[in-house]
C-alpha cells in the first residue's frame, strides 16, 4: 500500500485587526475557502458536457480521500481501487443528471464510494475493524500525512484536531457506523457495550464534532 507523506511548515497567517482570533470571518478565511464548492459545481457541469479536462481535475481533487476511505473500509487496496474505478465511471456517466439539491458534489461522490465499499464488505462477510490511527498520528506529527488535494492544509489540520478531541470510544462508535455501515445493535454486539451506551456515544460524539467543525463543515 503506497502512502504519500507530505511535509509542510506551519503557515504564518497575517490577519487584519478586524478579524480577531476565533471570529467567524477569520475562521472562514482560514479554513473555508468558498470557491471550492463553486468549482466543484462547475466541474460537474463541465463533466456533464463531456469535458475530460474537468473530469481529470475532479479525479485529482477527490480520488485520494475517496480511495483512502475505501481502503479503510475494505482493508483491501485492490478492492478499493475497483470501487474507485466504478465510482468515477459513474460520475462521468451520471454527472449530467446531478442535482445540487441532493447536496454538494463531494457529498454525492462520498456517498457513492461509501455505499459501494460497504456493499462489498457485506457481500464478502467482512467486518469493519476500528483502528485508532488519528490519535497516533496526532501524537507523532499533526502536520504530516494530511489530505490536501481537496481541502487546504489548515482545513485538514483542523478536521484532524477536531476528531482527535473526541474520546476514543466515541470515535469508535461513530466510525463503525459511518465507515463500517454497522447498525447500533451490531456495534453493541461487536464492542460488548450496551445499546444505550452506544446511542449516547454516537450522540455526544456527533454533537461535539459539529461544535468543533463549525465554520469548516
Amino acid at each position: 500500500m503506497a502512502v504519500a507523506i507530505k511535509e509542510r511548515p506551519w503557515p504564518k497567517l497575517q490577519y487584519p485587526i478586524w478579524m480577531p482570533a476565533g471570529s467567524f470571518a477569520r475562521r472562514a478565511t482560514e479554513v473555508n475557502p468558498p470557491q471550492t464548492t463553486v468549482k466543484d459545481l462547475e466541474l460537474l457541469q463541465r463533466i456533464g458536457a463531456r469535458d475530460r479536462h474537468a473530469f481529470i481535475l475532479f479525479y485529482e481533487r477527490y480520488s485520494t480521500v475517496l480511495y483512502s476511505m475505501a481502503v479503510r473500509i475494505l482493508n483491501d487496496p485492490e478492492q478499493a481501487a475497483e470501487v474507485l474505478h466504478e465510482v468515477f465511471v459513474q460520475v462521468w456517466e451520471n454527472s449530467g443528471s446531478y442535482n445540487s439539491d441532493f447536496g454538494k458534489p463531494f457529498s454525492w461522490v462520498l456517498a457513492l464510494t461509501r455505499n459501494r465499499a460497504i456493499g462489498r464488505l457485506r457481500a464478502s462477510n467482512g467486518q469493519y475493524r476500528f483502528a485508532d490511527e488519528v490519535a497516533h498520528e496526532m501524537a507523532e506529527d499533526a502536520h504530516r500525512n494530511l489530505h490536501e488535494q481537496a481541502i487546504s492544509h489548515e482545513e485538514a489540520l483542523l478536521i484532524r484536531s477536531a476528531i482527535a478531541t473526541l474520546p476514543v470510544e466515541q470515535r469508535q462508535a461513530i466510525e463503525m457506523a459511518f465507515l463500517g455501515g454497522l447498525t447500533q445493535q451490531e456495534i453493541s454486539q461487536s464492542t460488548g457495550q450496551p445499546l444505550g451506551t452506544i446511542k449516547a456515544r454516537i450522540r455526544r460524539g456527533m454533537l461535539k464534532l459539529r461544535q468543533e467543525l463549525q465554520g469548516v463543515a
Binding site: A4, I56, S63, N145, R160, L213
Partner: protein, 338 residues
Amino acid sequence: MIDERREAQAAEYVLGALPSEELREFEQTLLSNLELQLLVKELRASAEMLPFALPVVTPPAALKEKVLAAIGGSAVAGGVVRESAVFPAWLPWALAASFAVLCIALLGVGSTAKRESAELSQKLEEAREAQAELQRENEILQASAAAVSSNESVRVAVLEKQLTQKTQETKKQIAEARKEAEQAQAEIIRAQRQLNFIQGQLGQTAKDLDRARGLPEGTTLNQGNRLNNLRVGLLKPTIDGPPTATGTSVWEIHEQKGLLLIDNLPPLPPDRDYQLWLFDPKFVVPVSGGIFSTSDTGTARLEYRAAGLIETAERFGISIERKGGVNTPEGKMVMISN
C-alpha cells in the same frame, strides 16, 4: 428545542445507523421541523469531514489511466493537470475588468443577501409561530392532564361513597340477621312452652282415657308408646302469612284426634275462616282438620279430628278459606309446619 432523543436520532440518521423501525417516524418529523432539518444538515456536514481525518493512501497511478480508458480516451500528456495557467500580458487589464465586474456582482450579491435575509427572517417568524403553537398545545395538554386528575378525584370520591353505603348496608343486614335470630330464639322458647302445655294436656287426656277404660290410678300405658303415636308440627308463617304468627299442631294417630294452638294470627273478616289441613302421603290432596277463628289477640285453641283416616301426618298447614270451609284448599296457605 430539540430533545436528547431527537438529537440521538439525528446523529444516527446521518451516520446511516438509525434502525429501520425509527427511520420512517424520524423522516416524517424531519419534514415539518425546521430546527431538526438544520441540525441534520450540520451533523451530515460534520460526518462528511470524517474521511479527511483518515491516513492518506494514494491511489495507484494505473487506476487513473484505467478510469480514463473506461470513459473513452487517455489522460492529458504527462498525466498532470494544473488548475493554474501561465499569466499572459493582458492579465492586469483583465483583472481590472474583473474587479469592476466583481463590484457589480457584489452589489447583486448584496441585494441577494438582503432578499435571503428577508426570507430567513420570515422563516424565523414562522418558527416562532410554530413554537407559540407548540406552547399553546402544551398548555392545552397540561389543562387536560389537570382535568383528568380532577376526574380521578371525583371517581375516588364516588367509590368512597359507594363503599360507605355498602358498609352501612352490610351493618344493617347483620343487625337484621341478629334480630331474626333473636325472634327465632323467642319462637323456639314459645314452641317449647306450647309443647310442654300439650304434653301436660296429653297426660291429662291419657289419665281420662285410662279412667274411662276402668284402669286403676297409676297404671297408665307406657309413655314412650304414647309418644310414638304422636306427630307434632311447629307451624311457621309462609310468605303470604303474618310474619310474627306461630303455632303448634299435635296429631295422635291411635286416637285419630289432634290439638292446635296458635299465636299472633290476626282475626279474619266475617266471610272468611282459617282451615287446618293435614298432609298424608296416602291422600292426593290434604285432608281437612276443621275450621277455626282467632281471638282479638290472635290466639286460637282447636281440638280437632280429621275428615279421613290419617296414618302419617307428615305436615300441617293453615289456609284462609271462605266461611264454613272447603273440601280441598282453595285460598292462600298462610302457615305450614316443618
